[in-house]
């Protein structure tokens, strides 16, 4: 049988961090007492009407722009009709065949569409051992009901669980830059479902897909997709056919179970929402959106590689961590003559290590100001202190803060630049290590390390390694 390839698409819900709900003025809240952020509108009392939140529209436009989507000149809201206690109107106001944005791209994956809708309320299921008179039942809390959501649907362009996981992380990092959402999977402000199918490698047709839900971390997302791909592969290779169904991921053991097929059997009877008028983003709104976009991770990574000549690894790492990137750029700003790659090395290497040693935490929150790191890197570059001494100074900066030059002075870490002093130390070291000297003369370059070591010990690391090397060789006449 031909090899089976994975075909994966993601359906993402981003909970927006506006101040109020999508269709009423109730404040958004997290972790408050149940039903303290409700009103007749979000409780669907008789006679109420929705009015859209203009900030939610702006946020959605920003997401659409970051995903390079085409924004519809005119989009409308639709009613999606279904009954469930967490859906008080028994319809969700969403968008159907005229969504806000279509046809975008991120990280090489095509975006099918992005649209606005409102979140459902929360139902807490009481078990058989329910706290109320030992009975079951459920409690509905409408605080969350009505929170603005942007739903993003990708094309099925992903080809592995790992790719899905890393793309999901890129999406998260990108959206986090826009200041429109906390995009936190554990909290529920970022929710990702996966549509998974398999097909013979090279085929263009799509196989039957299953929908995976309830994966609330990137790790679980990958595990769930991995498990489902394995299941489908096994099934198909044994001659079976995949049934379209919705599968619920169980974090305790990574298994997937089928939900009663209420989802696919459901006819949502979509029709245009008569209580709302169309959205027609003006040129001014679109312009404002474009101008409000910060440099996004993908673009930043490309800039770091092409303009700053950073290694692909460093570029990717910095682009994925906006705070670290900002710190890096602040340091560069203060040390414009130093090569960007050098600074990147210090920030992602020595600085990160020093922070881990101390107490963890981000560079921007540490006592090492960009100005002081810039000064330190410059001093090392100008050979005023050795690299080794530099690391020592950095450790001190992490602990105490302060000015690198002052610390060097105070702790006597200045590189030995007096040629005469260093020459005599080198001469003494050569004399004290005759075997090594002999080995070097006879061609064993590695033996130089012993003498270099002796010089470093003598100078307490304050000599420049390169210069020591040179002097040793000079002394030995090679």
């Amino acid at each position: 049988m031909a090899e089976l390839e994975a075909v994966i698409g993601l359906e993402i819900h981003v909970q927006l961090s506006t101040r109020t709900k999508m269709f009423c003025g109730c404040a958004l809240s997290f972790g408050d007492e149940p039903n303290v952020h409700t009103c007749p509108v979000c409780l669907a009392h008789p006679g109420v009407l929705p009015v859209p939140n203009e900030e939610a529209i702006r946020y959605a436009l920003r997401i659409a722009a970051a995903l390079e989507c085409d924004v519809a000149p005119r989009s409308i809201f639709h009613r999606k009709n279904y009954f469930y206690p967490d859906n008080p109107k028994a319809y969700q106001i969403s968008q159907y065949d005229l969504p806000l944005a279509v046809e975008g791209t991120l990280g090489g994956i095509r975006i099918h569409r992005a649209h606005l809708e409102e979140d459902a309320a929360k139902t807490i299921h009481l078990g058989e051992s329910g706290r109320i008179h030992g009975s079951g039942g459920s409690l509905v809390d409408f605080n969350r009901g009505g929170t603005p959501l942007v739903e993003i649907v990708t094309e099925p362009d992903l080809r592995s669980a790992a790719e899905a996981g890393s793309w999901a992380r890129l999406l998260r990092t990108t959206v986090s830059q826009l200041d429109v959402s906390n995009v936190n999977m554990e909290e529920g402000s970022l929710r990702i479902d996966a549509n998974v199918s398999v097909r013979p490698a090279g085929s263009e047709a799509l196989g039957t897909k299953t929908e995976l839900k309830n994966m609330n971390s990137f790790r679980f997302l990958e595990r769930g997709i991995e498990a489902e791909l394995a299941r489908q592969r096994e099934l198909v290779e044994a001659g079976g056919t995949v049934v379209q169904e919705t599968l619920h991921f169980h974090p305790e053991d990574g298994s997937l179970t089928a939900l009663r097929s209420k989802e696919e059997a459901h006819d949502y009877r979509y029709f245009p929402e008569p209580d709302l008028v169309p959205l027609a983003p003006t040129e001014a709104m679109l312009q404002e959106t474009r101008e409000s976009l910060p440099e996004l991770p993908e673009a930043r990574m490309r800039r770091y590689e092409s303009e700053l000549k950073l290694s692909a690894e460093n570029a990717a790492q910095l682009a994925a961590d906006p705070a670290e990137a900002a710190y890096f750029e602040a340091v560069r700003d203060k040390a414009p003559t130093v090569e960007a790659q050098t600074i990147a090395n210090w920030v992602t290497g020595e600085m990160a290590a020093a922070l881990r040693q101390a107490d963890g935490g981000a560079a921007a929150d540490s006592k090492v100001t960009p100005k002081s790191l810039a000064a330190l890197v410059a001093m090392v570059g100008e050979k005023k202190i050795s690299h080794g001494s530099g690391k020592q100074v950095l450790a001190t900066l992490v602990e105490e803060g302060g000015d690198p030059a002052a610390i060097v002075e105070r702790d006597g870490l200045a590189q030995i630049s007096d040629g005469g002093e260093l020459e005599s130390i080198v001469a003494a070291a050569v004399e004290a290590n005759p075997e090594a000297a002999e080995q070097i003369r006879s061609g064993n370059q590695k033996a130089i390390g012993a003498i270099v070591g002796a010089v470093m010990k003598q100078t307490k690391g304050r000599a420049d390694g390169g210069e020591v090397n040179r002097l040793i060789k000079e002394k030995l006449g090679i």
Partner: protein
Amino acid sequence: MAGELSGILDHVGRIGELDLDDVVPTSHVVDLENVLRADEPRPSWPREVVLEQAPDPAEGAFRVPSPRAES
């Protein structure tokens, strides 16, 4: 009821005989766009008021029988 419904459906179904190929269906009656609301919080209703009308309030929430088990 079924007989009445089918009689009504027969009558309203007569619109199937009209030629409506190039007609745009009415989806909105008023000629407005972009009617939006500023993102300013307004006081929510006090919970006692909200739960006053509830048939089965419990623990500050609306109690309902559970949905049938799903898996």
